[in-house]
């Protein structure tokens, strides 16, 4: 169901955690909340689920106000990072738990539990105890249990961060597949940039209790709203300079820029540097690391800024050599220095 | 929300039920006359308190010897706790779990049975009616609590820092005293507190093994209660409770301080 958060503020132990957050998630949409630990993204999730009380603002689910509703009547189910499976129940009993709460008959709920366990690729493991399941299997049970509740809104609180890399990949595609199949509105909290970009329809970047930018992944990555967002995705450097008469001039590089006159920082990502084409930027090769699929080349500009470029077939450069590169301007962003944020 | 109100009510009743008897005890200890059916005493006096503190009852000496006995028990029980916990938590040996289970034995043998059973042995060993004998039986009573407390902190602290110190050139004993002991301090203080309170409140074991020669507050209080003198037994009880609480809160304060220091490090 459609989720609307309006001007929500939350504090814990008199510390403000969320400061006026507004966010709309359309029905069936998959949205990621991305940010460093402590930015308030998990707090937002718990407040939506009714575990934490807000100081102000409102939460609407499917157009209905749920701000005052107790947690167990909201239908907003969290898959917690630590999974929180009940150790005194079997896998099937865990999955059947929300159905039991809804008053579904025993036979019916055990059948549904078995079905859901199959959906998360755990057929026949229903009688296992939690201690008899591996981390990945426990994660699948937690997912199945959340689905069993038929949530109006599925909330995923860093559900993959406790798994190792291979399992994480597997779980991501399982979640994506389940989302396609069940189509429920989903909010994922994560600090993993790639995870957020790869899985979501839209990404909300959070910092210090606020949403800095909320847009489709391509926009958030290519056109960050401010430097904090840009820095979150990393591997970018800034060139300080001035725009005068529609032209940006810095000590390293100059180009066309349709902007009012003033001082600007040009955000330049490694991906915007075209090493194969000679151009306006002179860079020195500092390090060459062959990594198998690609080669990571560290390039340094005259002002000491460094970029790490991944190249599929790296020319036979030697460390210390200076090369001439071009820049793709549509992947660059200008930030005005006069009103920094 | 209704349930919340009920639970707040539970807390309110609890606080009242805990505080009321203590308040009444203090009131009785300064009561001159309190006749039926008055809700409050008609007259107050410090006579009983004066009598006990400065008169022939030798309450100060009694207080001192009770505290001394409990302090000795607390310190020894904690040392035993530290040593035992170190053996069971940081070493692996045959019978380790048996030792851990044996730590709970004193909880399973009622103190009355233990004291009765050991009396003859104490007489034979010449420990009956001696301070050492009483200390020994109190130690057995305090053992499970102090060992459990120390086992928990010892397992939490582990040997990682001690190993680091050893690699940096500290001898095993110095590594223990300089690196591990400070980290065990909050646990040690809790254990001292527990050992003190347990020894301080012992009645039957002290009576049996001390034979009336080793006098403690608990031992003196019981006959006063039996005699039915409320004012006098209330004064004794007030002194008894307030001294126990004083020691407890002092140690609690020390625990908070060491924990705070541990956090800032």
């Amino acid at each position: 169901m459609k989720l609307e958060i309006k001007d929500l503020s939350v504090s814990l132990q008199a510390q403000p955690i969320l400061r006026g957050v507004s966010l709309t998630v359309e029905e069936g949409e998959f949205v990621s909340l991305l940010g460093h630990s402590g930015c308030g993204k998990s707090t937002l999730l718990k407040t939506v689920a009714g575990i934490l009380p807000p100081d102000g603002g409102s939460i609407l689910l499917g157009g209905e106000e749920i701000t005052k509703l107790p947690a167990h009547r909201r239908g907003t189910v969290i898959v917690f990072q630590d999974m929180r499976l009940f150790p005194h129940m079997t896998a099937a009993e865990n999955v059947a738990f929300p159905l039991k709460m809804q008053g579904v008959s025993k036979a019916e709920r055990l059948r549904t539990a078995e079905e859901l366990l199959e959906k998360v690729q755990l057929p026949g493991l229903g009688q296992r105890r939690m201690s008899e399941l591996s981390g990945g299997q426990q994660q699948r049970v937690a997912l199945a249990r959340a689905l069993a509740a038929k949530p109006k809104l599925l909330l995923l609180d860093e559900p993959f961060s406790s798994l190792d890399e291979n399992l994480r990949e597997e779980m991501r595609s399982l979640v994506a597949q389940l989302h396609r199949e069940f189509g429920m509105t989903t909010v994922l909290v994560t600090h993993d940039r790639e995870e957020a970009l790869a899985m979501s329809h839209r990404v909300a970047v959070m910092s210090a209790g606020k949403i800095l930018q909320y847009d489709v992944p391509e926009e958030v990555y290519r056109h960050p709203a401010n430097r904090t967002v840009a820095d979150y995705f990393g591997d970018c450097c800034y060139l300080g300079g001035r725009v005068e008469n529609g032209r940006f001039v810095s000590e390293l590089f100059s180009c066309e820029a349709a902007l009012p006159d003033g001082r600007y920082d040009l955000m330049l990502r490694a991906g915007a540097i075209r090493t194969k084409q000679a151009g306006a930027l002179a860079l020195t090769v500092r390090q060459i690391q062959f990594r198998g699929v690609d080669t990571l080349v560290t390039l340094e500009a005259g002002n000491g800024q460094r970029w790490k470029c991944s190249l599929r077939d790296c020319p036979a450069w030697s460390v210390g050599e200076t090369i001439s590169c071009d820049v793709t301007l549509d992947e660059c962003v200008f930030f005005s220095q006069d009103n920094r944020n | 929300m209704r349930k919340h109100r009920f639970l707040s009510f539970v807390l309110g009743v609890t606080a009242f039920a805990i505080l009321l008897p203590m308040a009444v005890m203090v009131l009785w200890s300064v009561t001159g006359r309190w006749s039926w059916p008055n809700l409050l005493p008609e007259s107050y006096t410090l006579r009983t308190v004066q009598e006990l503190l400065f008169g022939s009852a030798k309450l100060p000496q009694l207080l001192f010897s009770s505290i001394w006995l409990a302090a000795v028990v607390a310190v020894l029980a904690t040392i035993v706790g530290v040593m035992t916990a170190r053996a069971t938590e940081l070493y692996t040996f045959f019978g380790c779990s048996a030792v851990q289970a044996a730590g709970f034995l004193p909880l399973l043998v009622p103190g009355t049975v233990f004291a009765t059973g050991i009396q003859l042995t104490m007489i034979r060993a010449g420990l009956s009616d001696t301070l050492l004998g009483v200390v020994l039986v109190h130690l057995v009573v305090a053992l499970p609590y102090c060992v459990t407390i120390m086992a928990d902190v010892t397992a939490a602290v582990g040997v990682r820092h001690e190993e680091q110190a050893a690699v940096l050139g500290a001898s095993p004993l110095r590594a223990f005293f300089l690196v591990t002991l400070p980290q065990l301090l909050p646990g040690i203080l809790s254990s001292l507190s527990m050992g003190f309170v347990l020894s301080y409140s012992q009645y039957f074991t002290t009576l049996m093994v001390g034979g009336g020669r080793i006098k403690t507050l608990a031992l003196v209080l019981v006959p006063y209660i039996q005699s039915g003198d409320r004012a006098l037994s209330s004064v004794y009880a007030t002194v008894f409770v307030s001294s126990a609480l004083l020691v407890f809160f002092l140690l609690e304060w020390a625990i908070k301080r060491t924990e705070k220091r541990g956090e800032t490090q």
Binding site: P70, A71, H72, M130 | T116, Y200
Partner: protein
Amino acid sequence: MRKKKWHIAVLLAPFLALTALLLLSVWNVAIQSFGYIPAFGLTEFTTEHYAKVLQDETFLRALGVSLRIALLSAVLSAVLGVLLSAALIRCRKRDGAMLYLVRMPILVPHAVVAVFAINLLSQAGLVARVAAALGLIAEQSQFPQLLFTPDYGGAIAAYLWKEIPFVAYFVLALMFSVSDTLGEAAENLGASPLRSFFSVTLPLTLPAIVKAFLIIFIFAFGGYELPLLLGATVPKALPVQAYLAYMSPNLRDRPYAMAMNGVILLLALAMAALYGVLTRRMLKRMGGRA
């Protein structure tokens, strides 16, 4: 892990010595109850003292009294202590002044609790005076006898005052960690707070609750001061009766007293064994996790 044998021996020496003292006491109770006390010239093993004890009306009534005290104190303390613990958690009073207040009764000696009971519950106590002030009674004697009665209500009330907070404090940490994670998850999955408590928090806190129950049961069963100070003259509680027999000037009564202690010990150990079986089963149900 280290393995140096002499280290272990040194570290465990004082513990083993104290444990030996306890076992020696148990051994003494055992052999003396079978009539073997060479110091008194008794060297023949016999079960007649147990037979005599088990046929003795006074003993059986004392046993009934002690079982009653232990069972009622332990059951009521466990139930009300769990309620108190839940209240502390729900009302977010897990630390600070309220928790210190709850810990206080644990520190108060039993003899002092007897003073409390007498000050409040006797026929001239504060409760009776309040009843009189409210016009419920006119005379002291109209107030129901609560202390020194054969049902040992006074002793049980005194135990409750001390042990309800003990249970609350004993289970608080575990109950909090369970309710803060799994209890929260249950509510998130649609369980009402009450259901979440009974279907998740309570079963997972049960091991600690049962342990507290056992400690209180054995303690109250073998307790001496409270039944002595607040109980009736007849019947007496088992430990009081046993002490009386033990102090009898007739040394021939000694094995008889020891048989009573033997019964107390056996029942305490039987409770502990029952506890062992129950916890093992509970652990198995929880899949081997404590």
